[in-house]
Symmetry: C2
Subunit: 141 residues, 2 copies
């Protein structure tokens, strides 16, 4: 429920999941969170979704209560580890890593080569483009 609220309030397409040491472990796309709360028989036959009217929609969020992020993540084998860059990565490096991973976001850590380096922050593709467009039109601060 907390993950759903974060996605809603910050208008995010997904979340980065970290462990207790802030090591980035997985991406939780918003669509994956939805998968976890839609009855299996509706996922198998989309036509059945029609029988749910708006009054039943609260059942959807009801099924989020008591579930953890770990419950709704794909099985370990199917998880996509988030792409990672160093804090000193250049704009070209960030763009290259995003493009190669086809990801709208990269995680920033102190050392991208250490899998246990804690997350410092994230850079979205829109943030990178904002910076590149500002740089392209003149000297950056």
């Amino acid at each position: 429920m907390e993950a759903a609220r974060l996605l809603a309030e910050h208008r995010l397409p997904g979340l980065i999941v970290v462990d207790e040491r802030r090591h980035p472990k997985a991406v939780l796309p918003g669509s994956q969170l939805l998968r976890a709360v839609i009855p299996g028989y509706v996922q198998d036959d989309l036509a059945l979704a029609r029988v749910y009217d708006e009054g039943h929609a609260d059942k959807l969020t009801e099924s989020l209560r008591g579930k953890t992020v770990a419950d709704v993540l794909p099985r370990t084998a199917d998880r996509t580890p988030p792409p990672v860059v160093d804090a000193d990565a250049t704009a070209m490096e960030i763009a290259s890593v995003m493009a190669a991973a086809r990801s709208p976001v990269v995680v920033v850590t102190g050392d991208a080569h250490r899998t246990d380096a804690p997350m410092i922050g994230v850079i979205t593709v829109s943030r990178l483009l904002t910076r590149l467009l500002a740089t392209g039109s003149g000297p950056s601060p």
Copy 2:
């Protein structure tokens, strides 16, 4: 360049591409737009991205000038048509379509079964969750 500005200004992870009749034709993820402007040899060997310092970053946006959205879209065979729902779709239907397509967005048209129906709007996963969470906590307006 206009597509890059839209992604940046509206903080979007991607865009819906429509034809001259507003029929939704493809999704342009921000990461795909980046692919189109990174030199091929950097995409082949990410280590080469390091040789670009911040001063060269404006070359990145420079290469966007004169390119069209059609130029940076994947080849037709590799394009993902955006998931589509009717204007009268229920919340459960929207959630089901998003989950099945693993998409953070669905396009709304007057008739999802007609491929030539013009786009009315889009619903993001965060917008859907906002509505579901509001519905779940009491009667909706």
